[in-house]
Structure formats: C-alpha cells, structure tokens
Subunit: 318 residues, 2 copies
C-alpha cells in the first residue's frame, strides 16, 4: 500500500523539506504545516520552502515557524515532499530542491498530477490534499493536536469553498467532525478566512459593480476593471481575484466576464459560467485555457472590439 | 425519554399540522418539510401552515406541496407541532391552530424557548432544529430519502451560516456527512442558497460601498442607504439586509453602522461588532435593542446629528 510505503519512508530519514505549490493557497499551506507538525512529532525538524511570502489571509495559521521563503540556495535533503502540486512547474525555482533530494514523495488530489516523484499518492476523490494528510497522520498513529486540526481544517474549508463545491463529500464532513472534536475554533477561523476583506478590495468591488453591464436577456454579466480603478481603490492586482464572481452570482446569469484593462491595450479576460456553457471553449479560441466553468485568456486590442468579439463567441454557446 | 414519547404520540394520531415560525427561514422551513415527509411515511397526510409566502430563495426545496399559507381558518388537529419556534408569539395568527389542537409538541433549539406545548423537545446544543428532526427520523427508523436529506441539509447549512457559526459542532458535520451519503447535491444547493443575489441587491451593494466611511483609526465603518439609492438600484427594503456586513467584514473594523435614511427624518440604525464591543448597550441607550454583536434602533432627527450621536456613543466603548 502506497500510504504505508510513504509512512515508513518518512520514518527512516533525517532531513525533510516540504514544498507546496507556487501561488500558495489554503490547502497547500495548511497541508504543509500539518505535515510539518507530524514529521516533527517523529523527531525530525522539517522545513517548508515557499516561493512567495505567506498571503495576509493565512497569517493566523499556527506553525509558520516551519515556513521559509526560498532564496535560491540548494541544500540536499534526505526526503522532499511536494504537496498539492500537480506538476514540477508548480514548484517554481524550488524544483532544484526536489531534483537534488535523495528521495521524493508527491502527495496531491489533482486529476492532472504527472506523478513526478518516486512515491506518488494522488487521490482525486479527496476534496483537498489536507484530507490525505489527515488520513496519513491517523495511520501514523500521531495525535491530532489543535494546531494540526486547525491547519487541516483550513486546507479543507478553503479548497471546498467552505464545503460548498462539488468536491465536498461525506468523508470530508466526517474528517471535519473529527477536527472539530480536536479543538478547531470554527467561527474564529471562518471569520478570518471568509468574512474578512481589505478596505481597498471592498472599494474595488464597489467600483466594479458600477461598471456592471447585463446583456443577452440577463444571461451575461460584464465587469470592467481598469488601472485607474485599482489606483483609486488603493488596491493591488490580486484584489481583482473573485471580482468576476460578482457577475456570476447574479440570479439568472449564465456567463460572467471580467475584463481587466491593463496599460497598452492589453486585456486580461476572466470567464465564468454557472451551468451549461463551457467557457474553456471560448478561452481556447482566444489563445487561453481553463475548465468548463472557469477559464481565461489575454487579448491585445481595443476595448470595444474585444467586448464585441467576446460577446460574439458567448452568443454562439449561450 | 422525551423523544420516544414524541414518536409514539405522532404514531397514534390521524391529523397533523406543522407550524414553523413567522418570517420563515431555512431551518424552520427545511425542518418542517423534512418532518412532513416523515409523518407521511407513517401514513398520515400532514399540512404545514406558514404565515407568509415561501421566500424566493427557498423555492427550490422539495415538498412544497405540504405547505399552505394560513388564511385564518381554524381547524382542529389531533396533533400540532411547532418547529423552531421560541414562543407562541412567533406563531403569529396561527397560534389559533395550536390552541385548538388536541395535543401539542414543541421542537426547537433556542435557549429562550418558553416550553409552551405539552411535550417540549428543546435541544440548545443542536445547531439547528433540522438536527433534532434528523435524530427523530433516525429513531423512527424511517428512510432518509434524498428529499428529506436535502431539507435537513438546508435547515442546518442556513442556521450555521454554511458551517461557519459558533453553533457548528462535530455532530453537525457527522449528520451532514450522512445527509450527503443520502443524496444531497451540495454544490447545487449551496449555489442556490449562498451564491445567488438579485441584480438590484448587487447594484445596491455597489451604491452602499460608495457611501462607506472609515472612522476612528479604521475601527468604525459607516454606510448610508437612502430611499433614492434603493430606487436607483431597483431594490426593495429587504435588500438592505446584510448591507451592514460589508462594513463589518473589512479588516480591522470593530463596529459597523448602517444608517437607513427613510423619508421624514426617520433613520433605522443597524449596528454590528466583530469582537469586544457590545453594540446592544448603544442600541438600548437609543431606544432599541439586540445582542452583543448585532443590535439596532430607530431615531428621528437630522443625518449629521444622528451620525455624531452614534459616533459619540461608539467612541465610549471602542
């Protein structure tokens, strides 16, 4: 069984590095810290290398003392574990640490995982990599501390959109039940994760709603965000994340578009659909990509032309 | 055991009416329909009387054929069950049905429940009345159909704010795990409940954010909504619900205020706090009421005076 193989491998080494994917999210970070605590319980001091600083919204997590922003040094580890990472490109510069490791393990839940390590535990039915780490920790017979429980809870609740996405299963809720019994402060964590927004992002949302256009009999929503709007809101580029959902969440909307207007006639397009439209088809045609309900592309040109082109493509599949 | 007593009572009667509370919510409605399905499985055709029409957001629920808007007729039932109803005032006009019943049962999870029926099952550790109905259905040995599971899921997820509030327990997640195994379409239900907003409400949010003022070193947020804004958004009065949370959810904010400016210098004030401030103290002083983290009042006067008065009171407790 691959799980037992992984556990005995971890128990036999002396130095361990853990690598979550670039653009770290709640699952990648929560899983990594939970695993770091577990490895430490086994008597090894692990290190988690990340590509960029921990995002503000996850600063409340315990165990950030395990985490280091990678500075390019190449140290040889007995074992390197890549977590929540579909392929080695998602390791960024840290791929060097993986390459120079004596042994490698890859733990993930993405169906697209390329199985790039010696041992690959890819469970696509798991809602989050956090679920797999939970199961490994239980199998190792280690204690589910409050810290580990909180990290796994964050991993699962962020990757399931607060237990709302399709990937949420009965097993997900069984695990979360156990995590709560082991001390997770549900309302505190949820407030920090889901009910906290920066002032600039809030302002940007207001400005974005002002640009909202409803087209095609209420089935298409278009929102535009310009550099000026970002400047006026005091916002940052990443504050555009999720703005497209304002349009998507409107009753009756099937396709939502966010046009992010950069300087020099370059436009980043976000596409979302609610049910039947496959927006990846549209994105692919325009040189981008994605999934059925979430896709994107970048186009050069003029605003009016781009809007017209997008609407023409959307109309075909609406 | 009160549960067995309730079950044997239900099994002995021929006519059953179920009464959820006025201003029906997801828990009251979901619990009532789930119980109606269960009662029907026992061979009795139950009726659910509600005070007002089913809100649009719950129209997708199965079993609405059990539900009737009460028209004032007084029919004598063998058994009337009040669900999720803290006291008889919460039954509105339908209290007459309770009064004329041969027997009465009260199933609820509110700590303030006045135990107004012959048999009272009040479990304050349950996150929702839906949890209690789930347990009764399991005890009755009835099958958890997809319909029943969906109704109980809606009851629980709405009353826990999507498993985010303090009342969410490990038992809550255990129950939900079982409901999912019995056919709940998690992403479909969640999308309908949590990710659907009307166009007017979305527009009103945008206009509300435009009025946002941040005061007292980023600790106080004030939002104003006027009749004109509601008109321009094409919104309705109830679309103001939750607007105060835009302010509350901003990072660093402790107290959020929504000033709803009506005609004739009448102002409805909503107050929310995040952690330590008890906004009910402020509301009480101004002739209103509420809880520590959510309170309100109505004041007559001029906008500037009212804002100054509110800020003066808030400063005292900040």
């Amino acid at each position: 069984m691959i799980e037992s193989n992984i556990i005995s491998t971890i128990k036999e080494v002396n130095t361990v590095a853990i690598l979550p994917h670039v653009s770290i999210d709640g699952d990648a970070l929560g899983s990594s810290i939970a695993l770091a605590y577990a490895v430490k319980e086994l008597g090894i001091e692990p290190i988690i290398y990340i590509e960029e600083e921990i995002p503000l919204s996850y600063n409340f997590l315990p165990g950030t003392e395990f985490v280091e922003v990678y500075q390019g040094e190449v140290k040889k580890y007995d074992l390197v574990l890549a977590l929540d990472t579909g392929d080695i490109e998602r390791l960024g510069k840290r791929v060097e640490i993986l390459k120079s490791a004596s042994d490698t393990i890859n733990i993930d839940h993405h169906a697209t995982n390329t199985e790039f390590a010696r041992l690959n535990l890819v469970k696509t039915t798991s809602s989050a990599t956090g679920e797999i780490i939970y199961q490994l920790i239980k199998m190792m017979g280690l204690s589910l501390t409050k810290e580990i429980s909180t990290c796994i809870y964050v991993a699962i609740t962020t990757d399931t959109g607060g237990f709302r996405y399709k990937n949420t299963t009965s097993v997900t809720h069984q695990i979360v039940s156990d995590l709560i019994d082991n001390g997770v402060d549900v309302s505190w964590v949820s407030q920090l994760l889901f009910e906290t927004m920066s002032l600039p992002k809030t302002k940007l949302m207001g400005l974005a709603i002002e640009t909202l256009q409803i087209l095609e009999d209420g089935k298409v929503a278009v929102i535009t965000v310009t550099d000026n709007m970002i400047k006026n809101a005091g916002a940052r580029e990443e504050d555009c994340d999720g703005i497209v959902n304002i349009g998507r969440n409107i009753r009756g909307i099937e396709v939502a578009v966010l046009i992010r207007q950069n300087k020099n006639e370059s436009f980043k397009i976000n596409l979302r659909s609610k049910k039947y439209v496959d927006v990846s088809v549209i994105a692919n045609k325009l040189g981008g990509g994605g999934h059925k309900n979430a896709a994107g592309c970048t186009i050069n040109g003029y605003m009016d032309d781009i809007k017209a082109m997008l609407l023409k493509e959307i109309k075909k599949v609406l």
